[in-house]
Symmetry: C2
């Protein structure tokens, strides 16, 4: 449609409109996404993940400013409910971020954590597609790295930065949450605080344990003052170069394949379950009546849904 | 089987074995869960949720100690990756919790955040069933309240306590994450810290906004010193009494129905997708080749999976 064309010409108002169409599932959202899909395969996607309060937003803000200096068109998708990009912010943060809101070459979209399983990663995936179709050379995804939905959002990124801050449990949490496996780069932010050396050492030890593959760097930053941001940018751009090579391309294809498989499966499963809502509810009732256990109910539903057996049980 | 019988006689070693059978999906796990299901409908389930570092574990520890003084058999399921119940802890915490590990009337199980969507809430649900069948009068579920999986874990609880601590963004985060809707009771822990009054006021304001239904209390505690724990226990037991009444019973049935429906649907969907893994992968490949967009691929899979259309597209 016309909207898709204007979006692909880099029209920021068309992008804004497209995000609303997709978010609210307005008429034509499905066609819009199909149309932009082919155009939405360029552009680098950078994930910034870490717990609440580690300074992800300040770091993202600093990176946006630097990337803009290089002339990149930049997209930001914030899926952290406590992010200042999200409105849940101190006034000072909001004022600082304002400069990007006034820049027509930067587009910021925040997503609420809501809805069913996979809803978050689907929404984020759609917005990333729109941003890439719009022509964002870099799209930053800011996300809290807890929960499976969040990890799925991370899998949208070509390069993943895991951010921790010195102090209790943060790096331990990163290890437990499986983030060590997904990180291409670690940042210890708030590195002027006590415990920063310890946090670096903890991460290095965790990386030793993970073994195999490219060893991720551990960088230290103080995002509020800009300290270490230059090194971070350099390391990130080096990773982008690596992605353009044979090994990087192959990894991108594999990850994309896995993410697409998950998306296709989850989407089909949720449509099926929606269609058969009345049966699901009746089975739940039978479990509550004590006639079935929950696993037997799930097996019964599987039998009914699966084409191969559908003629027997109707 | 014999294991189910021994479990239902309150044998703590049988419980421990049963948890391993279920966790590792050893032979017979399905039968075990079916057998305990009927017996696992008694016992109160109490959810303790909140961000990392708010002191959930210390609060849980204090509540366990108090419930034990009342002679209750207590189960604890910790699904917070940074919880001291989980091993990711300071030595002091671990020593403090040790007393419960030595008490055969307390059983503590920690679950890693891992696996696919819904995997966490399924594992947690299974463990809660085993604990209730074992005869736990109270089962506490400790969980970080971020992400859909976590919210699903909350829905296993009859009574949900949302814990925040004074300071940046915590109560804002609780509001954004939809926790205000699910909370039966709020606790501002670390109430001896600066900003505690503000946190209480923020929560009260959020509760005003939510409107409708029973108005949840906001209590203040200092879990490390035990301050406020008596009031918390009293409020919780009052909620348990309410649950036993007509209104409470009706809410329990509704929530159980919703949770069972989600479980049955998710379980059936994941089985279907597993069975059709090769088709999913082939569709993902066609998207990567540019022959399909992801939504069209999902629709194609839905058509193939759904019984009503299975004969056309085989």
């Amino acid at each position: 449609v016309e909207l898709a064309d204007r979006l692909q010409q880099g029209d920021v108002r068309a992008l804004s409109r497209a995000c609303r169409v997709v978010d609210d599932r307005l008429p034509g959202h499905r066609e819009l996404l199909s149309r932009v899909h082919a155009r939405s395969r360029r552009g680098w996607v950078l994930g910034i993940t870490g717990g609440a309060g580690v300074g992800k937003s300040t770091l993202t803000d600093g990176l946006v400013a630097r990337l803009r200096q290089q002339g990149e068109r930049v997209g930001v998708v914030a899926v952290d409910p406590s992010s200042p990009f999200h409105g849940g912010a101190l006034l000072g943060d909001r004022i600082r971020l304002q400069r990007h809101f006034l820049d027509t070459e930067v587009f910021i979209r925040s997503l609420a954590t809501r809805g069913a399983h996979g809803g978050l990663s689907r929404s984020a995936g759609d917005v990333v597609s729109l941003l890439r179709a719009w022509g964002a050379g870099v799209t930053l995804i800011e996300t809290v790295g807890v929960g499976q939905d969040e990890l799925d959002v991370c899998s949208l990124a070509h390069t993943t930065v895991v951010v921790v801050a010195p102090g209790l449990g943060d790096s331990i949490q990163a290890m437990k949450a499986g983030l060590v496996e997904t990180a291409d780069l670690f940042v210890v932010n708030k590195a002027d605080r006590e415990g920063a050396d310890r946090a670096v050492a903890d991460l290095e030890a965790a990386i030793d344990l993970r073994g195999g593959g490219e060893r991720p760097l551990v960088l230290s930053t103080v995002a509020t003052s800009g300290q270490g941001l230059g090194e971070l940018e350099t390391a990130l751009l080096r990773h982008r170069d690596w992605l353009a090579g044979a090994e990087g391309q192959s990894r991108c294809r594999e990850r994309e394949h896995a993410a697409l498989s998950r998306f296709i499966a989850a989407e089909a499963a949720s449509t099926l379950v929606e269609r058969h809502g009345a049966e699901v509810s009746a089975l739940a009732q039978r479990v509550q009546d004590g006639a079935l256990d929950p696993y037997a109910a799930a097996e019964e539903l599987t039998r009914r849904l699966d084409g191969s057996a559908s003629r027997d049980s109707g």
